[in-house]
Amino acid sequence: MKKVFERPKSLKDMPFHYCPGCTHGIAHRLVAEVIDELQVFEKAIAVAPVGCSVFCYEYFDCDAYQASHGRAPAVATGIKRVLPDRVVFTYQGDGDLAAIGTGEIVHSAARGENFTVIFINNAIYAMTGGQMAPTTLLGQKTTTTPFGRDHKLNGSPVRMSEMLSVLDGTAYAARVSLHNPANVTRAKKAIKKAFEVQIAGLGFSIVEVLSSCPTNWGLPPLKALKWLEDNMLPYYPLGEFKKPAEVI
């Protein structure tokens, strides 16, 4: 018998603390699979954010940092500038990356910092109890938009991948989703490309991953995926927004 699917080596053998059906877990696994496949486990350094995925430093079995909220890209900059041959990646939520960490992500991209960002967009501040994120959809009810997000009051959701693609330093930017198997497969490909871009020294790479938060969306796991598909996909188009010529 041949294993056609098994736990990646780079993922420590311990249970996740995530809620049932939370796709943070799938994203973790994909990153670990890519690290395995590219055989960069020994060189990998993960930078964990503040958010539900704060403990990802435990799950990825590589060396790791826990960064302050939003600053993972600055921390990664510090690491990568000292150790340019290591494979450095941040794993950040939408509150972390698109709100408090806007300056850090924009300027890491502008500087073309040669690390990879896994950006989990679940349209919510999950860890702190379901508040509006910059990526929360119009009309979406959260604990701080009890009547639904309203453009007049809160503005409109930001499309980070598109925005970062404007910057010359961004070498690779893609948006993927985890709502069904076909998209999970595509997500993995994008993550792999992002790491390859880094390994080739081509500059800043980011993969925005549309992800579910059953708990704070108040939906069972399957319905959450359906909600993602029905509501997030129309606003957040999937695809590669930028890729270097060097990468196939």
Binding site: K2, V4, G25, I26, P181
Partner: protein, 73 residues
């Protein structure tokens, strides 16, 4: 026949595997595991194609899939 192994104590009963199995052979057990969830399991394993879609969609890396090796040549 492929083998699909569930690490039952890790299962959170989210039903994603069940939903996405193209053969519809993943079901939720009646009993609950130590975490209080009804764990997923496979019935009618003979229908299984070893496509590993269940595993791919499992957020908690509960599932392993094995398959007979194809004879080469």
């Amino acid at each position: 026949m492929p083998r699909v192994t569930f690490r039952e104590d890790r299962c959170k009963g989210c039903e994603l595997c069940k939903n996405f199995c193209p053969k519809g052979i993943v079901v939720m057990a009646d009993h609950i595991n130590a975490m209080g969830f009804h764990p997923a399991t496979v019935v009618e394993i003979e229908k299984c194609t070893g496509c590993a879609i269940c595993a791919m969609m499992c957020p908690d890396v509960v599932i392993e899939v094995e398959k007979e090796e194809k004879k080469v040549g």
